[in-house]
Symmetry: C2
Subunit: 338 residues, 2 copies
């Protein structure tokens, strides 16, 4: 049991209000009074009970972040950036992961831990727009990532179509003609890879290249293993790509591994481009070319948006915000010289 405000007030011989003033650095307190109270605080080892404060103020200073999978370094790096950005606004971060399961995403979006979180940043995979309809509570929700919704919520995401086109253009510029796409899904409509696949298709057309659907590999997940499996499936059915654009770095890395195992050389035989710019791609034996979204900006904007809404920014319209990205060319798409 720690000491309470009342205990401190009693020891210092003042009212709780005065102690509260001191604790909260209320300016108009005489130095003598401040010192007297501080002495009592030190003596008792008093620490304010934040829970009581929360109840009283209706705010906790905690925002939740829910990502699909912390094992994916993209989300781990993003989470780190969100924690830092939140700290700059004196917020702490409650972290949850959804495994990309709609059910879990719904649970989270409906406000898990009601009243203990002031706001929520969610990176959904399978969530549908209708799931967002009757959100109870008033904790602001900010969406992050490549899924798009017709829903009145802020959404922070780079322009995935344009970014994908940049990647494909890079490959086409290298003279590659049979550019595969790894990471589609069976039903395409609203899946995460949707926009990147569209970018792939658009840019192929722009480059005057046919888009051969046998060069598209569908997967169930988005990890290294899925990338390797998709690559193998493609090769097994005789697709013979000379380049691969993968949904993300993890899949690209898995694909590279599969290529090497089959005796194909990267980049000489097959060029590879990923998406996310996770650190690991910089250190793979063949360093990975990738689309690098500005993760710091994504994290910062998401947090700022939550904070602005909490500050009651008047008439803040739900907005689609597009942070920047760059194509980082590395060894996996080095021009054929040797």
């Amino acid at each position: 049991m720690g000491a309470s405000l009342k205990d401190v007030a009693q020891l210092a011989g003042v009212s709780v209000k005065t102690v509260s003033n001191v604790v909260n650095n209320y300016p108009h307190v005489t130095p003598a009074m401040r010192e007297r109270v501080q002495r009592a605080i030190d003596e008792l080892g008093y620490r304010p009970n934040l829970t009581a404060r929360h109840l009283r103020k209706g705010r906790t200073g905690i925002i939740a972040l829910a990502v699909p999978e912390l094992g994916n370094p993209y989300f781990a790096e993003l989470a780190g950036a969100v924690i830092d950005a939140a700290a700059r606004h004196d917020y702490t971060v409650l972290l949850d992961h959804t495994a990309g399961l709609r059910e879990k995403e719904v649970l989270v979006s409906q406000g898990f831990r009601a009243h203990v979180i002031d706001g929520l940043i969610l990176s959904p995979i399978e969530l549908e727009a209708e799931d967002l309809l009757g959100r109870p509570g008033d904790a602001p929700l900010v969406l992050v990532g490549e899924r798009e919704y017709d829903a009145p919520y802020d959404h922070i995401a780079i322009d995935n179509v344009a970014a994908a086109r940049t990647a494909v253009r890079h490959l086409a510029g290298l003279g590659r003609q049979r550019i595969a796409f790894l990471g589609a899904r069976r039903e395409m409509a609203r899946q995460p890879a949707h926009l990147r696949l569209r970018g792939w298709r658009e840019e192929l057309t722009a480059a005057g290249l046919p888009h051969d659907d046998s060069l598209v590999a569908a997967t169930d997940g988005y990890g290294r293993w899925d990338g390797a499996a998709a690559m193998n499936a493609l090769l097994d059915r005789g697709a013979q790509p000379d380049a691969v654009f993968a949904y993300n770095d993890l899949m690209a890395l898995g694909a590279m591994r599969a290529l090497v195992e089959r005796g194909l050389r990267v980049p000489q035989d097959v060029s590879v481009v990923g998406f996310d710019d996770v650190e690991e791609g910089r250190f793979s034996t063949v360093a990975l070319t990738t689309v690098s979204p500005d993760k710091q900006a994504i994290a910062r904007l998401a947090v700022e948006r939550v904070v602005a809404r909490l500050a009651g920014a008047p008439q803040l319209q739900p907005e689609r915000i597009r942070p920047g990205y760059t194509l980082v060319a590395r060894e996996s798409t080095a021009p054929r010289t040797g």
Copy 2:
């Protein structure tokens, strides 16, 4: 503004106690009463205010986890496992990272967010035993990882000396004679690599191999870049190792990258063993041999320990708990055949 218990009670024409009984699934409530109350709850869209509950009960159901760096996949994977383990006990996880900075670790260990977290799991890098002395508050603290302290706290960590010896034994068994260690620090006493370096030294002795200090590379950090830099430094000073045991997988991966850049082959010229078994090592072009700590067990045990202390387990002595580990041999230490 959500509805309160009182609002529900009023609408249902009962006392708040009765509503509380329903909300908390108190068994002795007549079905008719339960239904009446439930109807009022539904109508008002009532959701209990957890903050108030927390204040009243003195518990929040939140435990904090502080790791050095989420960008290190080992910690990201561990964090994921902790979140899952905590969920099994109905706890949510507040996540923070310390960058391995003593100052931040002290802050965290002193109970950041007092009263909002019920307990704390901390993986320290630079924290000293004395920093743990006058911990205020009574939130249980469980330590995790390779730093060891003479302090009355639970500590979950695999046997780092034995694990390191296993790795070095594996290398020696391959006939390697000049086994380098990557990841020491300038002042060795209490640094994280301490125990693994000791294991390296002990096993070298046991194997009848001299331990040449020129084969030990010190680093400042523990990332991929540090591993590459340490490897290069070692090679630059003409050390000529035929094997490398790195403090962790990230450093091992960085070292492999450096070796390849210098035209050295892994494993033919230099065998490499890491530590952590992060998924990325399974997919590197040369799959990485590693010591694999049982992360699930570490996470589970840490959470269980916090929960047990919160449940007021009587006379629970602070304990050092040692989860298991295995050596996973992969391509980076394949026997020389070719």
